[in-house]
Amino acid sequence: MLRLDKVNKYYRVGTHSLHVLRDVDFEVADGEFVAIMGASGSGKSTLLNILGILDDYDSGEYWLGDTLIRSLSEKKAANYRNRFIGFVFQSFNLLPFKTALENVALPLYYQGISRRKRNQIAEQYLERVGLRDWADHTPSEMSGGQKQRVAIARALIGKPRLILADEPTGALDSETSRQIMDLMAEINKTGITVLVVTHDPEVAARTSRIIRLKDGKVVDAEHARDSFPQMQAQP
């Protein structure tokens, strides 16, 4: 699915250069459910930027499928993001002035699909996350869990091969977190690769593999989830 080969990233701050990612090496197979963990400042966000083609890297190689993602034009990068990757964020990032339906349909707008058609498709995806009846509500009228479901529906609508989730349960209570991770697992079962960036061991425990980052380096990219307890379903 994706492979990083000695990826390095520097940030220039004034005259100093900050080495944020150091020879990052790992591979994620098709259909895997992976967590990326690390403390604050470990380079998680930078890695997510690079994986989501929102930022470039300085050396190494990043392969997404058969494509080497390197110095893509802004237009090509936008196209990849639109068709291959679905994003789920901690703070949901729904557009407040759009209804749930319109928010879900937004990625299809950038594919040039007509309003009627994309609203029809968006309805199906809202149905899939159990929010069919909330289609005409704006985010301010919804709970955190509902917003995250809408965000997930939006991430799925472009039929991506990869879902990148940045602390998807960070703003949710434990019960809702569990439901969201259930939904993520369900999505993963349909064959979509899911990468969750988190610092929550319980969330990481729901995945099949954990990649740990420390000071911009991958310290462990193998199976390590056994060291964390499974998240228990609430009765």
Partner: protein
């Protein structure tokens, strides 16, 4: 000096580079995103965004609408002033000079002051030879009319009315703004042969003749003498300009015991400037003072009414008013555009997160740039049209209310309207461009993490 020259050159280069860069970038992004211009879906998206930001929309609309309103109103008012002034002059030829015989005010050649000067036919004959004059006429003042003035009782059948009589040469036509609607004006032959020919204004015809009756060839009795109508004229200058009758100066002098007296000599000097006209006036005044024995420096013996000088002075004044009006208007508009740009800049800042989301979901930088520009153009367009309509309506109101004789039909013409609209679209694009560029540079991840 060299320093200022260099600074001016650098500023000019910076301006050219800046404008080329902005216009070029606008053209490039339009080329990339031209489909968005004709996409109903895209416009719906723009409308939704605009509708959901009511305060921003209201602020933008007000600042641009006000700018355009002021510009259009001032432009319209400037035009009204110009037209008003031209109408004041429309009664007479703008290149005409009238020299009227008056009383002396300076003792000269043994004569005391207060002596009445009267011109005669020889003065006219000598004036004809002066270089630079292209049309010239003498005028005999008939007096003893209905009001002891030049208004003489005119009769036909049982009807009688007083009309102003002008006893002139054929060239007098060029000193007026009359337009012949039937027949002809007085000819040189009329004057030479002392024919009893008259040319009358429309009100004279309307008074004496029934509708549809042909007045040319008919006879009118002017102060007891029958004259035949050879032509009818109209004049844009108003009814007063039309309530007149022209007859040959020679016939009038003979019929009304005028001998060879003239009260006025009037001429036009083609396209001559004020200096050339002054030279002609000085020559004529010299000739007259020599013949009639008054001081050439006597400012009152001959009253000179010089339209060339006055018209130029007025034109200059109104041109300055127009320039002032345009500068104020454009300044107001520029302030409006800067205001819109500021508001859009704040809007982009407010929408950092939204832009980040859109980028993450697949929006290209050019589509972001175009989205912001499209909104700006839409807003300025609508606001501008509001201001434009308001300005036009205000001008129409002032025109209707007839505030002053010096303001006539204020308003803007179609080409100014089109230019203003085109300028609006450009101003909108310009106002949107810099904020849009800032928007396109938004880092999605930073934006998305922005709480």
């Amino acid at each position: 000096m060299i320093f200022f020259g260099l600074a001016a050159l650098l500023i000019a280069i910076a301006l050219i580079v800046g404008v080329t860069y902005t216009v070029g970038s606008l053209a490039w992004v339009t080329l990339l995103q031209w489909k968005d211009l004709v996409s109903f879906d895209r416009w719906t998206e723009v409308l939704i965004t605009i509708k959901s930001n009511k305060l921003r929309t209201a602020l933008t609309t007000i600042s641009v609408a006000w700018g355009i309103f002021v510009l259009v109103f001032l432009l319209g008012l400037g035009r009204g002033l110009n037209q008003g002034a031209r109408k004041q002059f429309a009664r007479e030829a703008t290149n005409g000079v009238w020299m009227i015989a008056r009383k002396t005010s300076v003792p000269y050649g043994g004569y005391d002051i207060g002596r009445h000067i009267t011109f005669d036919n020889r003065d006219y004959d000598r004036a004809v030879a002066v270089k630079g004059i292209d049309h010239i006429s003498g005028q005999f003042y008939m007096t003893g009319g209905a009001f002891e003035g030049t208004g003489m009782m005119t009769k036909r059948g049982g009807k009688a009315n007083a009309f102003q009589i002008n006893a002139v040469h054929a060239d007098a036509f060029y000193l007026t703004n009359h337009e012949i609607v039937e027949g002809r004006f007085l000819s040189k032959g009329d004057v030479a042969d002392k024919r009893k020919s008259i040319v009358v204004g429309r009100p004279v015809v309307e008074f004496f003749f029934k509708k549809g009756e042909d007045p040319v060839g008919q006879w009118l009795e002017v102060a007891g003498v029958p004259f035949q109508i050879v032509g009818v004229f109209r004049d844009e200058g108003g009814a007063e300009q039309e309530r007149q009758i022209y007859m040959p100066v020679s016939t009038a002098q003979l019929a009304y015991s005028g001998n060879d007296r003239l009260g006025m000599i009037e001429f036009t000097a083609g396209n001559a400037g004020p200096d050339e006209v002054k030279a002609i006036v000085d020559t004529l005044k010299g000739q007259l003072s020599e013949r009639h024995g008054f001081s050439p420096d006597d400012a009152q013996a001959v009253h000179v009414h010089n339209n060339v000088e006055q018209f130029q002075r007025f034109s200059m004044m109104f041109m300055m008013i127009s320039v002032f009006v345009v500068v104020i208007g454009l300044g107001t508009l520029a302030a409006g555009v800067v205001g819109v740009s500021n508001i859009m800049m704040i809007a982009v800042k407010e929408r950092t997160k939204e832009i980040g989301v859109r980028k993450a979901l697949g929006a290209t930088p050019s589509s972001i740039v175009f989205m912001v520009i499209q909104e700006a153009v839409f807003l300025t367009g609508i606001a501008g049209l509001l201001g434009l309509s308001g300005g036009v309506a205000m001008c129409a109101l002032i025109g209707k209310a007839h505030v002053s004789d010096f303001i006539l039909d204020p308003g803007i013409d179609l080409s100014t309207g089109i230019a203003a609209t085109a300028f609006l679209v450009f101003a909108g694009a310009l106002a949107g461009f810099f904020p849009a560029r800032a928007a396109a540079r938004v880092n999605p991840i930073h934006a998305l993490r922005d709480q």
